[in-house]
């Protein structure tokens, strides 16, 4: 079982890079990467070590008026889980 620390931070091994071919962002790490949708990109940008998960949800709820806080919270947890499983978050215990 993986727990995410209160203030997630992207591991220094990842690089967020705009992909001008698709207009999406890519999260690159050794020899591979993830193509992010808009929500995932917004979440990844908040993984600076400064935002708690609750603060992330509040912030994103204000930006995405058509999604409920519950939906946003689920999206955040799910995506942070994806990152943690791949070892892409720092401070994961």
């Amino acid at each position: 079982m993986i727990f995410v620390t209160i203030r997630p931070r992207l591991s220094p091994k990842v690089r967020l890079r705009f992909d001008r071919r698709t207009g999406h962002y890519l999260l690159l790490y050794p020899e591979t990467g993830l193509e992010l949708n808009g929500t995932a990109t917004a979440i990844a940008r908040l993984c600076t070590g400064e935002w708690t998960i609750d603060e992330m949800v509040d912030h994103l709820t204000r930006s995405y008026v058509d999604a409920s806080p519950g939906e946003i919270r689920r999206a955040v947890r799910e995506f942070l889980g994806v990152l943690a499983d791949r070892g892409l978050l720092q401070g994961v215990t």
Partner: protein, 367 residues
């Protein structure tokens, strides 16, 4: 050309030269016939053109890429195009100062291969004393904050060490562990009878690897690549011919995979003679096995054709004599008996010492 054919990764084979002489080396076994290496300016032009085509990952490999004196220039150049740069190396020859310099210039990650966890076996398989230095290099990499992949090519003689390999990877704080079974092409095909593990060895190793992967989730990825001799379905070789990868070899030949030019009758072109984007889109070699028109039975109507693209073209050629045939690794392929007989042989001969044919001499440098 749409996103169906978009390269994400450029595999830059900087040299065929290598201080090691691994007997499972998948480099072409006619090394002596190869000519000059392309220079740094040409490589940087290749990086630029590759990035324009969509490439975001760069693997600097060889041979041994550290033998290029201008590796610094190449890494610095790749950084300008925002490529994620992976150095695939044996770790020989390297100093901590040079690795630190490469890191500062923009190197993103390092993959180091070992031949065995046992010093004497590793040194013998590599053809020279190298194991201690590899451990040093791993420590330098992690202390510089470079993500580290530990790679070991598995075969009959070292597959039983898998638990020790995992323990070593944990000890050196690797981010990824690639337990890659030998690909039986090039030198490895010549030595197949000596290298191919028996089914039981593969299954034990796979179980141990799966357990470690679950236990280490989030900390270290443990990747076990089952040899296609035991999967009954072909691998999705290079994720499809001319689809996701471009290989540029030391002489500047652009290829869909690093052995594609061993298939006779295919035309490939040099990056010094044509723009990479034109080669990617228009060269007959890159287009030869794209799409589905070239597929023969039973691939033509198989529901898995969009997953495995008919398997490995080089394997079809080297085992069946025809690169257009289904990969014999597939149990549905007409040539599958070739794979079955190699497996049967492996099952019968485990434990019997076999003579190896070693990759001869030092790899050739530019002359």
């Amino acid at each position: 050309m749409n996103n169906e054919y978009r390269p994400y990764t450029l595999i830059a084979e900087l040299t065929y030269r290598c201080p090691l002489h691994c007997l499972y080396c998948s480099n072409p076994s006619d090394l002596a016939e190869h000519g000059n290496e392309i220079d740094a300016d040409t490589w940087i032009q290749v990086f630029r053109e590759a990035e324009e085509l969509g490439v975001v990952q760069l693997n600097l490999t060889g041979g041994e890429p550290l033998l290029r004196d201008d590796l610094e220039l190449l890494i610095e150049g790749a950084r300008k195009f925002d490529l994620y740069t992976n150095l695939i190396t044996s770790g020989i020859p390297l100093t901590s100062e040079r690795l630190s310099r490469l890191r500062a210039l923009g190197l993103d990650s390092v993959q180091i291969s070992i031949q065995s966890t046992r010093r004497s076996v590793s040194d013998r398989l590599a053809g020279m004393p190298s194991f201690s230095r590899k451990l040093d290099v791993m420590r330098w990499a992690t202390s510089l904050g470079l993500p580290l992949t530990l790679n070991i090519v598995l075969h009959r003689e070292n597959i039983s060490e898998i638990e020790e390999v995992i323990a070593l990877a944990e000890r050196v704080s690797a981010d990824r562990l690639e337990l890659a079974n030998t690909q039986y092409l090039g030198w490895a095909l010549k030595n197949r009878d000596a290298l191919l593990p028996a089914r039981q060895q593969i299954e034990q190793a796979r179980t141990v690897a799966a357990e470690a992967n679950a236990r280490l989730r989030g900390q270290m990825e443990v990747l076990f690549v089952t040899p296609d001799y035991y999967t009954d379905r072909p691998k999705s070789c290079m994720e499809g011919w001319g689809r996701r990868f471009i290989v540029v070899n030391p002489e500047g030949l652009a290829l869909p995979c690093h052995l594609a030019h061993t298939i006779p009758g295919l035309q490939f072109e040099h990056v010094t003679q044509r723009r990479l984007s034109d080669i990617w889109r228009h060269s007959t070699g890159f287009n030869k096995f794209r799409g589905e028109a070239w597929l023969s039975d039973p691939c033509r109507t198989c529901e898995r054709r969009a997953l495995d693209f008919g398997g490995c073209r080089c394997q079809a050629f080297h085992l069946m004599g025809d690169a257009g045939m289904p990969d014999p690794a597939c149990s549905l392929a007409p040539g599958h008996h070739v794979i079955e007989s190699a497996r049967t042989h492996a099952g019968r001969t485990v434990g019997i010492p076999v003579l190896f044919e070693h990759r001869a001499g030092r790899g050739h440098s530019s002359r």
